[in-house]
């Protein structure tokens, strides 16, 4: 009965938290074997509608060696509120940065918890950013244009001790694409065509 004396092995992870954990782990292994699969290019197309009101379409991306269409053509508007002389037909563009940050860390929490065998019952977050509009209004050369600071607060519950739940959030933050971009910055090339 060699099974009996075999040292304890890590149990294979089952689907959990709505995450297909075996497929997730197989995907990670596939990328480990073939790192070129990890190269992705995301994109959006945008058009100005009126005033400060514009709209983006998010439809397709490339990665894992091929081209992919989203199942839906996602469309999002943005505008300025009345107090900033817009018509509030969408959030301001910078509010989407807060949304993106919360979504990225939260998605990672779902995956990491599943990989660690933790069943989550809830993950909520509140995120806020402080900005002094003297920058974008051109009234100051010392006030920056963007947020001065962002704060995000998570409340997490699941079938693990508080310390393990904290570690899951911390690991997700440590591997978050949006957290990295927001805290470290990224080169942005701007090109302009006229017609």
């Amino acid at each position: 009965m060699p099974e009996v004396i075999a040292p304890p092995t890590r149990a294979p992870r089952e689907p959990r938290n709505g995450v297909n954990t075996p497929v997730l782990l197989a995907t990670i292994n596939a990328v480990k074997e073939t790192p070129a699969l990890a190269k992705f290019r995301f994109r959006a197309s945008s058009r100005w509608l009126d005033g400060t009101y514009s709209e983006s379409r998010v439809e397709s991306f490339s990665g894992a060696g091929g081209e992919h269409n989203h199942q839906t053509q996602f469309r999002y508007a943005a505008d300025h509120p009345a107090v900033l002389v817009g018509q509030d037909r969408g959030p301001t563009p910078i509010e989407f940065l807060l949304h993106a940050l919360a979504m990225c860390i939260t998605a990672g929490i779902g995956n990491i918890a599943a990989a660690r065998g933790v069943t989550l019952t809830s993950v909520e977050s509140n995120v806020e950013g402080d900005i002094d509009l003297q920058g974008i209004l051109g009234l100051s050369d010392t006030v920056r244009n963007g947020y001065e600071r962002i704060r995000i607060s998570f409340t997490i519950a699941g079938d693990a001790p508080p310390e393990k739940l904290r570690e899951i959030v911390e690991q997700s933050r440590a591997r978050s694409a949006v957290f990295d971009v927001l805290t470290n910055g990224v080169p942005v090339d701007v090109s302009i065509n006229t017609r």
Copy 2:
């Protein structure tokens, strides 16, 4: 007839491009008089739904000395696509960064063109970001988690010479809150509560 011999003055700007230019300029002057009005705090509340699927609500913000509710409670989902083991019920979180960038610079183009007396006929943009997922998948300590580079390309048309149209885009980039955050980064504080 002193009007006849008065030196030419800059004509007052009229509403243009859907921008209430007089109110915009009055707002800038009001903030110049009372810089505390420029302090804004934007926020979002998010909750995990399932797997990599989550949702944010964008409802209110403070600024201009008060608290404001958006006219609509904006809600946005995010998810991972099938190739990243999600169910594609929303874009990935990092795609929202591309949307935010395009929206911010485009809104500024609308305002700046109005302030400069230029009538726009179209502003379109394509934005893309390159990312190597070896970072977020935990397969490399040298590959960053976020985008390696973002490119945004604008095509603008209006009743001004190409050079003036280019200057409008360039000025908008120079005063864009999202461009600043993405290129320069911002401190992000993360706090964790368990229950």
